[in-house]
Symmetry: C2
Subunit: 212 residues, 2 copies
């Protein structure tokens, strides 16, 4: 009856990887709404449909689950976000980045919120990230903007604060969703809301940088 074909071949680590992923998703959802302290191991287990002891089998402890969620989020960015490089023209690079960032707010609002909550708490579990990968990425982008400005491809705008503007503006649609929803008089944010958001942000940023 249960042929190896029907069940699929057993691969070592497959169960581990699948159950871990299930727990990770459940935890991301829970942390995004209730925060670290507001989320119980039991509630994560329930949402993942495993007994609580099983969560402890795959993760050392609650902090272990939480840091795994954070690391997963950081990995997502590397995968999803187009980078701003000097090879591209400012206009195209900024448009691509804004589009990708808005798309992230739409497709990964839970991840965005977990990250935001961590920042709001002083980012105690993100020190390493902020001091290494992020620092490197940020100064790299500053260099790109500086080069663009030096080459006369862009008005002289403080690159750091420009990046913060883009960050803040795009994050807003995930992190302050209730406010946006009420403002727009809708039930939930739809694709066209995000399209309109991206269009407006690009319009203002591009004109603001003298790129139109």
């Amino acid at each position: 009856m249960t042929s190896s074909v029907a069940r699929g071949p057993y691969k070592p680590g497959k169960i581990r990887q699948q159950t871990q992923e299930k727990i990770l998703q459940a935890a991301t959802q829970a942390f995004s709404v209730h925060g670290f302290n507001g989320t119980s191991m039991q509630s994560i287990a329930d949402a993942a449909n495993v007994p609580k002891a099983n969560v402890h089998y795959y993760f050392k402890n609650k902090v272990g689950v939480y840091t795994a969620v954070l690391e997963n989020i950081i990995g997502l960015w590397d995968t999803v976000l187009n980078d701003i490089t000097a090879e591209h023209e400012p206009k195209q690079a900024l448009c691509d980045y804004i589009d990708a960032k808005i798309k992230f707010s739409r497709t990964h609002p839970r991840e965005s919120r977990v990250f935001a909550k961590e920042m709001l708490s002083g980012a105690p579990h993100l020190q390493a990230f902020l001091e290494e990968d992020y620092q490197r990425w940020f100064s790299g982008r500053i260099a790109v903007f500086t080069a663009w400005i030096a080459a006369g491809k862009m008005q002289p705008i403080d690159p750091a604060h420009l990046l913060f503007m883009i960050w803040g503006s795009t994050q807003h649609y995930a992190d302050f969703e209730p406010q946006v929803v009420h403002s727009l008089g809708t039930e939930a944010l739809q694709q066209h809301h995000f399209d309109q958001a991206a269009a407006t942000i690009k319009q203002v940023i591009l004109a603001g940088c003298g790129l139109e």
Copy 2:
């Protein structure tokens, strides 16, 4: 020894008001870092230098303390934020609003963070606010922008998303402080960082709206 002058005249309700305020400030600080669930009544009491039972004497329960904090924050905005009205020219009104908003991020980061955390959790304790006062304020501002655009005083920019940009950009300096601090390579944000932020935001937004 202890003259009534030295102690000041006893006013009924004075003690209540003072102790309540002390607890409220301690609670704001605690909630801003650890969130609702991460903050214990004991820790609030300790920070306010009163026994825990005293907190329960002035507030019905933990939710009572929390909503008092939120109401206090909303009240602060009404006091501090300049309003955007059709009587002013767009340029001046936007500058004033951005300046006031950045100043709020600088002078009230804790309040800003409590509010942001509440939003991130779906704003369960802000439904009334979002559906009443805020809704009214927001549609009023939309009307102002629409009038400006109709009068040719401003480029046609989606007013709602423009407001979100301003909100997101200015909030960022309070809510994502660790990121900003690491990005700017400083120990803590200083007055001049906020000045530079406000200048850049105004520069981009004004040019973005065709107001330069």
